[in-house]
Subunit: 145 residues, 2 copies
Amino acid sequence: MENNTERFEKLLVKNGLKRTAPRLQVLEILSGRDSATSQPYLEQVMGKDADRVTLYRVLQAFEEKGIIHKVLDQQGTANYAICSDSCSAHEHHDEHVHFNCDNCHKIYCLDAVKIPALKVPAGFKVERLNLIATGLCANCSDKVN
Amino acid sequence: MENNTERFEKLLVKNGLKRTAPRLQVLEILSGRDSATSQPYLEQVMGKDADRVTLYRVLQAFEEKGIIHKVLDQQGTANYAICSDSCSAHEHHDEHVHFNCDNCHKIYCLDAVKIPALKVPAGFKVERLNLIATGLCANCSDKVN
DNA sequence: ATTTTAAATGCAACTGTATTGCTTTTATAT
DNA sequence: ATATAAAAGCAATACAGTTGCATTTAAAAT
């Protein structure tokens, strides 16, 4: 059984990215969370370990390689989550649903839920679907009641 | 048959909003378009007829009253469209699909398309659904082929 | 018609997100 | 150990959006 760091190093190499501290750190943070992570939160956690610009570039590189994917929440804030194995560079298996909790504001990737086919008006060609459900997550609906 | 301006004045009064130049202008612009309109575009068209801040406040007031609704496009940019009659203050009939064209970047409200019910994991309580499809709109898929 | 006033606008300043150009550092290949 | 391409760091800038406050104005009250 290999540890996280080893796994992440392999992941970077596989994607032709150098093994650097900021990149490993971002992967550590994202993998330790059960929901998508907002850019502001990442920035805060990284603190002065990495420059803001570096963080942006790390996230951008990861997104291009299909290591993570970006989800915009209801306010337009960028959130990032590690892609499941079915994701690959430029070929995101993007059709999964995201759930944005009104209470804790977490964004969950509901990989299991698939978006039903859609009937669109004649002429429209659908390439990708992006479905965000808002409401209360399992955790918060427990607490509230 | 009444003209636009009369209609818009009634709409404002009905919602307890004063009949002001910036508000009428925003309604004119939005009603003359077949797709949602981005904040930057609105700002540009309004030019110095109204302050940036005023535009933001007009849009916010309209949204609260259910006169318009906001859609974020793939980049997180705010776009606004006049609500159909089924919308009302704080009770948006939001379940309709938006279509974001990759080519012309227009956002169409597909009022006719309804979002199919969704099976989510136990505990999650879905309040609202927000589905954005991206691809080519009828216009652009014509031109491309 | 005038006055009143609550609402809306305009202006200035500011916050936060994101980007670009350029220099320095560093991971990796030689 | 060295070379080099990639990445990080830094400074400056662009842009979206917000807040506080003074001024103006639409509409109600007189």
